[in-house]
Subunit: 386 residues, 2 copies
């Protein structure tokens, strides 16, 4: 194969963006050959905007079986990512899914197992991993420059959404349509970066507020406290109800602290590690010598195109994936643990009881104000307007 | 009376500082006439440094009865503030206590009752209330410029202390000697400013770590989550184990957000309130227009001298107190609630069960490694080396 033929499932907000840059030839060695949507208006849009040679499908299964595609990008509502990916893998297709990997880890775990058995290339659209600032932050942590992590703090409250945003789709911000609020819709990138840079916490105690700032049934305000195996603590704060909000990511370690804010990375670096200073210092109120370092950040955030290009190169040349699809479960695990902790009003250890999570989610789905159909599995249908 | 004759009880670190600026005449219409300490070496220091006319006492009661003072500053270890203040009020003296007001609210409540009955002027050394930055922040909140509070976040982790600091006094960082760690020793100012600016939370869920970064029995790392009656949330993070640490106080409200960091106050002000925008906006991803405003801060932080001067003026001229002693209970209530929440591993509603708090504290005092004497009330003695 010298060119990957790509189909896009779901050409709503995100899917149409992927289709457009593929149709424009922005991704080398990739060709958009098909799109799929259950909404006829979206297919009309595709015919008018993507070119007449693009095959149009009303149904994902038909596209998967059409022999018109080698690989698919799945950009449907969240619940449908795992079943569609599983179906595509079973037909021998490579898969790139939009975030989040799914709504509950149980279905994502099943998807990961099928993906691994398939031997196909499985990516996830964690485009924030292409942001040079977060790559640099990860470098400073993983290389040991910061020393062992002591404390993590991410105030990521600049996800402002008005009531009219939520009113724009009946499935939005419902348990049955999305399976959550700010955690599942806005924060998957942040929770992925959190674990990509700092690793997975051991336990979580979260405080979610449901419909606090909007007329919605899911959470729009979250404060979560986390603990790590080494004793490090973390606080993650998010909301869609605050303007202008804040995006400040701070990590304190044995060698100082790093703050990422307004696109800048600053490292307050200790000349000797705090633990060493603590052992050796003999005075009263002293503290380790500290240098304020402005860390250069080079490179360009290649964003969605970058992730798609990397995935295409992985298919054609075996290039390592920047965002392997199987890693989608990590951020979702933190997200699910936060929901579960709030529902139980208690600690949640990781790994948590996935059946209990699903049961508690199901209770909310069953009483959700968004009901496309009485049959539960209908919510897994491709919806296509996202 | 045209001049207030002041005695200082406890001339350790803080008490000697108060004695020195009083002896130097830095506080108008006040005169240092006596000091008291149980440590003979401190009295020798006083004789050599404060002038021969200063009366020296080994015992606070003797000073209170000496007729040599109209008013006293109490700068002993924390446990002793309430019993000494009560004794002074009963002898008709005006009182200014060092922070914290005490170690547990039960004893502080008793002190406040005696103070109010006495009719004497009762102040507390909340010198951070003289900081123009916090005065301005309070002004913006109380005047309604920020709108209703939504979220409070104070990362105050720049209280670094080494093991050698803790080793410098056997009573330091012990349940019997201090009654707590970073919350009771370093944070009383922060917790007072928190409630002075934002009011009292309704409930608290705190996560304290004991001896995490030091060989001590009390907490040196705290993350606390709070909820307010109006739905506002708060996070307070502190530690003595981090260098260089952070001091960043953020308050988000309906009209934007304010951040105090590095002595600067910045107000991101919304042109219309978020609640109004949320109701009226009809588009998709919009958010309210926001202006970044650098708020001028005038005035000088008059610090300890400022509080003492204000208290002297209250005695002589009826000037309103900037930091009334009876308000010491508020910050301590938050501090006690944080401890209790951590001990119970559960929510603590405010007001909490003060007897339960004292019982849990007493269990820790009884097993404390610092034991001056087997008799419980011995811990209430003046120690004089603080």
């Amino acid at each position: 194969m010298d060119k990957v033929r790509i189909g896009v499932v779901g050409i709503g907000n995100m899917g149409s963006a992927h289709a457009k840059y593929l149709a424009a030839g922005d991704v080398p060695n990739a060709e958009l050959t098909a799109v799929c949507d259950i909404n006829p208006k979206r297919l009309e849009w595709a015919r008018d905007n993507l070119g007449e040679h693009i095959k149009l499908f009303e149904n994902a299964e038909a596209m998967f079986e059409s022999k018109a595609v080698d690989a698919v990008i799945i950009a449907t509502p969240h619940y449908d990512h795992p079943p569609l990916a599983i179906s595509a893998f079973k037909r021998g297709l490579h898969v790139l899914i939009e975030k989040p990997a799914g709504v509950y880890t149980k279905q994502v775990r099943e998807m990961n197992e099928v993906a691994e058995k398939s031997g196909k290339v499985f990516g996830i659209m964690y485009n924030q991993r292409t942001n040079p600032v977060y790559q640099k932050l990860r470098d400073l942590v993983k290389s040991g420059e910061l020393g062992e992590i002591k404390r993590i703090n991410w105030i990521i409250t600049n996800w402002y959404r008005s009531q009219s945003y939520y009113d724009s789709g009946g499935w939005r911000a419902t348990w049955a349509g999305e399976g959550g609020g700010v955690l599942i819709n806005q924060c998957p990138h942040n929770l992925d970066l959190w674990q990509w840079i700092c690793g997975m916490p051991r336990r979580v105690r979260a405080f979610c507020h449901y419909g606090k700032y909007h007329d919605i049934e899911v959470e729009d305000d979250v404060t979560a406290y986390m603990e790590y195996e080494n004793g490090a603590t973390g606080v993650f704060i998010t909301t869609t109800g605050e303007a202008p909000g804040t995006n400040r990511f701070e990590i304190a370690g044995d060698r100082g602290k790093i703050v990422v804010e307004e696109g800048k990375l600053t490292f307050w670096r200790l000349r000797v590690s705090e633990r060493q200073f603590n052992r050796e210092y003999k005075g009263g109120f002293g503290s380790p010598e500290c240098w304020k370092c402005e860390i250069p950040v080079h490179g360009v955030e290649t964003a969605h195109r970058g992730i798609t290009t990397n995935w295409v190169n992985a298919i054609l040349k075996g290039t390592p994936l920047l965002a392997p699809g199987v890693e989608g479960i990590y951020g979702l695990t933190i997200s699910n643990a936060m929901h579960l902790s709030s529902w139980l009003d208690d600690w949640v250890e990781i790994p948590f009881d996935e059946d209990l999570f699903y049961q508690k989610l199901k209770e909310r789905i069953d009483s959700s104000k968004f009901k496309k159909d009485k049959k539960e599995d209908k919510i897994l249908d491709v919806e296509g307007t996202y």
